[in-house]
Structures are given as structure tokens and as C-alpha cells.
């Protein structure tokens, strides 16, 4: 059974300016432990689609199945990481943030802190377990957010441009780290990005979306061997291919 099924999902907004189609008739399935990137320019509906999968938005038509069960609102079978660093709770330490989901599940304090510390080790932040978010850099905060979304062991990890607000060097480090985390945990990941190189570096498959209305334009498998080398000829070829699908010139890379 596929881990995620997106079936004929559309979302239409009623705005004061009339009806706006956010996502039009999206269809795809994702197998367990696959890494899927949703790639497209802003306004293409990729974040909207992610929010539908997360259960924050209800589709106008169609449905989402996670592990064969239809999605109705939020659920702990999915972990979510947002772009904004402010997603962490400032009043909780890194450890307290990561333990939150387990606390909601009713896991006893000692046990949940042990699990949370393991998750922080996974993102290489065990040393900062007792730091408050405002003492951490943007990249560190996003790593805490990843650990937090993994700690209560959801089947699926949903990530909405988590590294888009980071500087380029930190972003490269974070991509490597995420690839490692994914390899270690075997999570099924849906990752939204507008960055072509990022999609090629991380994804098993890339779904290219185009705006007005938000439509799935193409689905491209990335078969490059991991760990991937961002300067290899094959890597650059894949980038060119994706850019042409996006309707942009290869030079734009």
C-alpha cells in the first residue's frame, strides 16, 4: 500500500476578487520512505497542496490518503516543518520543543526527554538541548524543528521550504544533514521548494508545478546515486531538464 495517495485534489478559494484556483486536480502516489519534492515558482500551489496533506486546509474536491486512511484535519501521523524560524515555542528549550509531541501523547517525562535528546543528536544539536530558541541560529532552529517533527514518530514528514530563509552556505549543510536524517529514519518526505538544485539534491522524484491555476505539470524521477555531487555533469543535466519543465531557460540556474 502506498504511504500517501493524493486523489483528484483541487482547492478553490473564494476571495473578494472572485474564485481563485489554488490547486487544480493534483494526483500522485508516494511509496513508503520515498523523498518527493514539490517544485515550482511562488503561487503554483505547492505550499497549498502541502497544507492540504497536513490537514490545515480542506480540499474543495478529492481526497488524501495516508497509509490508506483518509485525512481529516491534522493528525500525528504527519510531522510538519515550516519555513519560518518562529515556528519553535520561544518559552521552551530545544529539548522542551522536541518533547512537545510526546508530551501530547502522554509519554512520561523521563522517557520523552530521552527520546527528544536522541532526536537532537540526530540533527547534531544534543549540546544545545537546554538552550532557548532565541539563542540558536536560524539553521539550528530549523534543525530543532526537524527533530521536533520527527520525535513523535509520524509516518510522514511534510516540509514547507524549511531552508529557504537560510544563507546559501548554511542551506548546503542543512541539505546534507536532511539527506542523512532521511537515510537514517527512512521517513516518507514531501518537501516543498522553489530551488531547482535543492530538488535535484534531495528528491527521489520531483513534481513540477506551474501557477495560474496551480497544476502538476510533470513528474520527474531523479535516479542519481546518493550521496549526490552537486557539481557533477549528471546533476547539472537534471537541473537543466527541470528548468526546461518550468519553462525557464537553462541559464537561469
Amino acid at each position: 500500500m502506498p504511504e500517501i495517495e493524493v486523489k483528484d485534489v483541487s482547492l478553490v478559494y473564494d476571495t473578494p476578487m472572485g474564485r481563485v484556483v489554488g490547486v487544480q486536480n493534483a494526483n500522485f502516489v508516494l511509496e513508503k520512505s520515498q523523498f518527493l519534492c514539490l517544485l515550482g515558482p511562488s503561487g503554483c500551489g505547492k505550499s497549498t497542496l502541502l497544507n492540504i496533506i497536513a490537514g490545515f486546509l480542506t480540499p474543495t474536491t478529492g481526497q488524501i490518503l495516508i497509509g490508506g486512511k483518509p485525512v481529516r484535519g491534522q493528525g500525528t501521523d504527519r510531522g510538519v516543518v515550516f519555513q519560518d524560524f518562529a515556528q519553535l515555542f520561544p518559552w521552551r528549550t530545544a529539548l522542551g520543543n522536541v518533547a512537545f509531541g510526546l508530551e501530547m501523547k502522554g509519554v512520561p517525562k523521563a522517557e520523552r526527554e530521552e527520546i527528544a535528546l536522541k532526536q537532537l543528536e540526530l540533527v547534531k544539536l544534543a549540546k544545545f538541548a537546554n538552550s532557548y530558541p532565541h539563542h540558536l541560529s536560524g539553521g539550528m532552529q530549523q534543525r530543532v524543528a526537524i527533530a521536533r517533527a520527527l520525535a513523535y514518530n509520524p509516518a510522514v514528514l511534510l516540509m514547507d521550504e524549511p531552508f529557504a530563509a537560510l544563507d546559501a552556505m548554511t542551506r548546503d549543510d542543512m541539505q546534507r544533514l536532511l539527506a542523512d536524517v532521511w537515510k537514517e529514519t527512512g521517513k516518507t518526505i514531501v518537501y516543498v521548494t522553489h530551488n531547482v538544485a535543492e530538488a535535484v539534491y534531495l528528491g527521489d522524484r520531483v513534481i513540477v508545478m506551474t501557477p495560474h491555476p496551480g497544476t502538476v505539470k510533470a513528474e520527474i524521477p531523479i535516479t542519481l546515486q546518493r550521496p549526490r555531487e552537486a557539481l557533477s555533469v549528471q546533476f547539472l543535466d537534471q537541473q537543466k531538464h527541470l528548468l526546461s519543465q518550468l519553462g525557464q531557460h537553462a541559464e537561469a540556474a
Partner: protein, 265 residues
């Protein structure tokens, strides 16, 4: 918790003392200039000696304790009512629709205007003062909490919801801490309003004990030194609460969490 002073705290204490000394010197100059009769504007040593007398014979302690009791009960009630009601207003449209017009209509009525009404209903004594304090302190508590909850980052609610937080957990573990900078401001303003209200209420409705009562009673006997000594006691108590209670509360919470910036020291 320790009360040892860091160099920063010492500097801030020093600056505070300096500004107080300047004001005191200014007062002393005017008091000794002969512009007002000395009975009406006694020099600081006279006030200090009266202060010492009433402190050591225990009367001032009794007055202060009576006032503090009224303030703390009324203020406590305002906190217990204002915070939950403010949260409910921000979370539920129907509560807001009901409470907001009521608050808008009641808020402009000065708390002291209720004193005669309350005296008719409850007679002279503690009840009137406590109710007036409660009335004065509730609105800042309510409105600040209401604003605070509305300014809680929606991302925190989404993240908490995604992690399986139910309505109860959202309330205690996300909304209250998330709104805490506003709630703490509300608590401070409420306490301030409570003091303003209690002094007036005691002047009109208290009998025999209370700082407000003693000030207005002293006027009848031209005891300017006693009035000023009582005012000093109010200032000292207010200062102590602001620094020790609210300052500590702020340092242990929103400052530590980086949700507000420290005042430039």
C-alpha cells in the same frame, strides 16, 4: 533565588538613588524657601522623623497592611477573572460580542464614581474598597490578555495542532505562554490601577485604617508630614512590587525566552 546584586543591577540601583536624591534636593530647597508655610510643606527631616515614629509604633504598618490586603484581594480577583475572560474573548466570537460592548461602556466610568453606589449597597468598610480595586484592575487585565491571545503566532497553534495538542493543552501550553508578554503588561497595569483606586476608595469609604484614609484624615489636622510619610509608603510598596515581583516575573519568563527585549541598562 538570591538577592545578590550584579554590577548591572548595582548601576541601575545607583542611578535610581541618584534621581531620587535630585528630586529630594529640589523639594527641600522649595520647602526651606519659605514660599509655603512649613506646616504645609515640612522639610524632609520632619517628614522622616514622622515616618520613623509611625513606622516604629506600628500604626503605619497597620495602615499599609490594611491597604495591601484590599489591593491584593481586589487585584487577585481581577487576575482570576480578567485572564480567562480575555482568552475566551479572543478565542470565541460570541464571548467577544457579549463582553466587548460591556467593557467599552464600563471602562470610561472612573472606578471612584462607583464608591458612593457601593457604600449604599455594602456600607463602609473593606468590601467597597476591594470591589473598587477589582473594578479598576479588571479592564487592563482583560484587554491586554485579549490583545495578547490575538497576537499569538498562528504558526505555534498549527505546530501544536500537528503534534496532537488538544484544546486544553493549547490553552495552557501554547496560548498562555504565547500571550505572556501582554499578560505581564496587563498584570503590571492592573496593579497600578489597583493602587490608584484603593487610595481614593479608602479616602471615601474606609474607616480608621488604610493609607488612603490616613492621608485624607491627616488633612483635617493639617498633618502634612504624616500625609507625605504615607505617600512615601505607597511609593515604596509600589516600587518594591514593580522591582521584586513584576521585574522577577519578567526576568524568569519573557526576558529569558527572548520574547521581549531587556530595557537598555
Amino acid at each position: 533565588m538570591t538577592f545578590s546584586l550584579s554590577p548591572d543591577q548595582f548601576r541601575s540601583l545607583w542611578r535610581g538613588a541618584l534621581s531620587l536624591c535630585l528630586i529630594a534636593a529640589l523639594y527641600e530647597t522649595i520647602a526651606r524657601s519659605g514660599y509655603f508655610p512649613t506646616v504645609l510643606m515640612p522639610p524632609i527631616p520632619v517628614v522622616a522623623s514622622t515616618f520613623w515614629t509611625v513606622m516604629t509604633d506600628g500604626t503605619m504598618i497597620h495602615h499599609a497592611a490594611s491597604t495591601l490586603y484590599r489591593v491584593l484581594i481586589g487585584f487577585g480577583m481581577a487576575v482570576v477573572v480578567g485572564i480567562p475572560l480575555g482568552i475566551l474573548m479572543a478565542r470565541y466570537q460570541r464571548v467577544e460580542n457579549f463582553v466587548l460592548p460591556l467593557a467599552s461602556a464600563l471602562m470610561p466610568i472612573p472606578s471612584l464614581a462607583w464608591v458612593p453606589v457601593f457604600i449604599l449597597w455594602f456600607g463602609l468598610g473593606n468590601t467597597v474598597s476591594i470591589l473598587v480595586v477589582f473594578y479598576a484592575a479588571t479592564f487592563p487585565m482583560l484587554l491586554n490578555t485579549w490583545s495578547g491571545v490575538r497576537s499569538v503566532n498562528p504558526l505555534w497553534l498549527r505546530a501544536a495542532g500537528a503534534m496532537g495538542a488538544n484544546e486544553n493543552a493549547l490553552f495552557w501550553k501554547v496560548i498562555i505562554p504565547g500571550a505572556s508578554p501582554f499578560i505581564i503588561t496587563g498584570v503590571r497595569q492592573a496593579f497600578l490601577r489597583a493602587w490608584i483606586a484603593v487610595v481614593g476608595a479608602e479616602a471615601l469609604a474606609a474607616s480608621d485604617w488604610g493609607l488612603g484614609w490616613v492621608i485624607f484624615d491627616a488633612k483635617e489636622f493639617l498633618n502634612a508630614d504624616l500625609m507625605l510619610a504615607s505617600l512615601a509608603v505607597i511609593g515604596i510598596i509600589g516600587f518594591a512590587f514593580e522591582r521584586l515581583v513584576f521585574g522577577t516575573l519578567e526576568r524568569q519568563t519573557v526576558l529569558r525566552w527572548g520574547m521581549v527585549k531587556a530595557a537598555k541598562g
